[in-house]
C-alpha cells in the first residue's frame, strides 16, 4: 500500500511541476508581448537613425549569385574598392 502511495505522490509532484513550468512560460510570453508594444510606441517617436549604407566595409562572400534582369551575369563585376594611395598615382590632365 505504501508503495502505491509513493507512486501516486511522485506522479502528482511531477505533474504539478510541469504545470507550473508551463504557467511561467505563458506569463513570460505575455510580458514579452507587452514589453514589445511599449518599445514600439517609444521607438515611433525616435529619429530613424538606424539606416543602411552604400559603403561596403567587409568583403563577405555570397553563397549564391543574384539573378539579374536584362543583362548577362558574366558581364557583371563587383567594384573593387581600394584605399587612397593604392595603384598608380593619378594626375588629372
Amino acid at each position: 500500500m505504501k508503495k502505491y502511495l509513493k507512486i501516486v505522490v511522485l506522479t502528482i509532484l511531477i505533474v504539478a511541476f510541469s504545470v507550473v513550468a508551463l504557467a511561467e512560460e505563458i506569463i513570460v510570453q505575455n510580458e514579452v508581448s507587452q514589453e514589445k508594444q511599449h518599445e514600439n510606441s517609444l521607438k515611433s517617436n525616435v529619429t530613424k537613425e538606424n539606416r543602411l549604407s552604400s559603403i561596403r566595409t567587409k568583403d563577405k562572400m555570397d553563397s549564391s549569385n543574384s539573378v539579374f534582369k536584362g543583362t548577362d551575369n558574366k558581364q557583371m563585376i563587383k567594384y573593387k574598392q581600394f584605399n587612397d594611395g593604392e595603384g598608380d598615382v593619378k594626375t588629372k590632365e
Binding site: L22, V32, N50, L52, Q75, Y79, K90
Partner: protein, 207 residues
C-alpha cells in the same frame, strides 16, 4: 514491477515535455531570450534580397526573404540569437543590382532592432561599352573616386572586345574618374568626374 517501469517512463516523458517548453529546437537559447530585426523599406523600389549573418561569419548565407519586400512595407526576422550581426539588402532593378549594408548590429534578447532603408542608402552602377569601330580591345579599366590621388586596381578580369561591355556594380555614390586602357594608341583615355548616383546605372560609351 510494471508500475515501477511505468513510473520511470512517465517521469522521463514529463521531463522531456518540460525541457521542450524551456529550450529551442536548434540548441540555442529559448525564444524569449532572443531578439528580432525589422527592416522598413522606405525606398521607392522592392527589396529583393535580405541577408543577415553574425558579424564574424565570412559568408552572407541564405536570403531571408521569401518574396520581395515592397516599397513601404516592413519585414521582421524573429528569434535571432543575441550577437552582433551584419545585414545586406539588395534591390534588383531592370538595368542593374544595387546594394546596401549595415554592420555590427547589436541584437539583444527581447528587443527589436529597427532598421530603415532609403533610396540614398544604396549603391550605383557603371557600364563601360566598347564602341570602337577599328577592332581595338579595352585591356584595363580604373575607376577611382574623384577625391582619390591614385587609380587603385584594374577592375577588369578580361579584355572587352569591340561591341562588348562590362558592368561594374556596388559602387558607393560619388564622383569618379575613369581611366580606360586600350590595346592600341592612344592607349590611355580618361573620363573625369562621372557622377554615380544611388540606384542608377551610368553608361560610358568608349571609342
Amino acid at each position: 514491477m510494471y508500475k515501477k517501469v511505468f513510473l520511470i517512463l512517465f517521469s522521463i516523458f514529463l521531463l522531456g515535455a518540460i525541457v521542450s517548453c524551456t529550450s529551442s529546437n536548434d540548441g540555442g537559447p529559448p525564444w524569449h531570450f532572443r531578439g528580432d530585426l525589422t527592416l522598413y523599406n522606405d525606398t521607392s523600389f522592392s527589396i529583393s534580397k535580405l541577408y543577415l549573418t553574425p558579424a564574424n561569419e565570412p559568408e552572407w548565407g541564405p536570403d531571408q526573404l521569401s518574396s520581395d519586400l515592397l516599397s513601404g512595407d516592413s519585414y521582421t526576422i524573429t528569434d535571432i540569437i543575441p550577437d552582433l550581426y551584419d545585414v545586406k539588402a539588395v534591390i534588383i532593378g531592370n538595368l542593374s543590382k544595387y546594394y546596401a549594408y549595415k554592420y555590427d548590429i547589436p541584437i539583444e534578447a527581447r528587443h527589436t532592432f529597427d532598421l530603415y532603408a532609403y533610396n540614398s542608402d544604396f549603391s550605383g552602377s557603371l557600364e563601360i561599352v566598347n564602341n570602337d569601330t577599328t577592332g581595338s580591345y579595352i585591356d584595363a579599366i580604373y575607376v577611382s573616386p574623384a577625391g582619390s590621388g591614385s587609380w587603385g586596381p584594374n577592375q577588369l578580369e578580361s579584355s572587352i572586345a569591340p561591341g562588348d561591355f562590362k558592368h561594374l556594380y556596388d559602387l558607393p555614390p560619388d564622383s569618379y574618374d575613369v581611366k580606360i586602357v586600350w590595346d592600341t594608341i592612344p592607349y590611355n583615355v580618361y573620363y573625369y568626374d562621372n557622377i554615380i548616383k544611388s540606384l542608377t546605372l551610368l553608361t560610358i560609351n568608349a571609342d
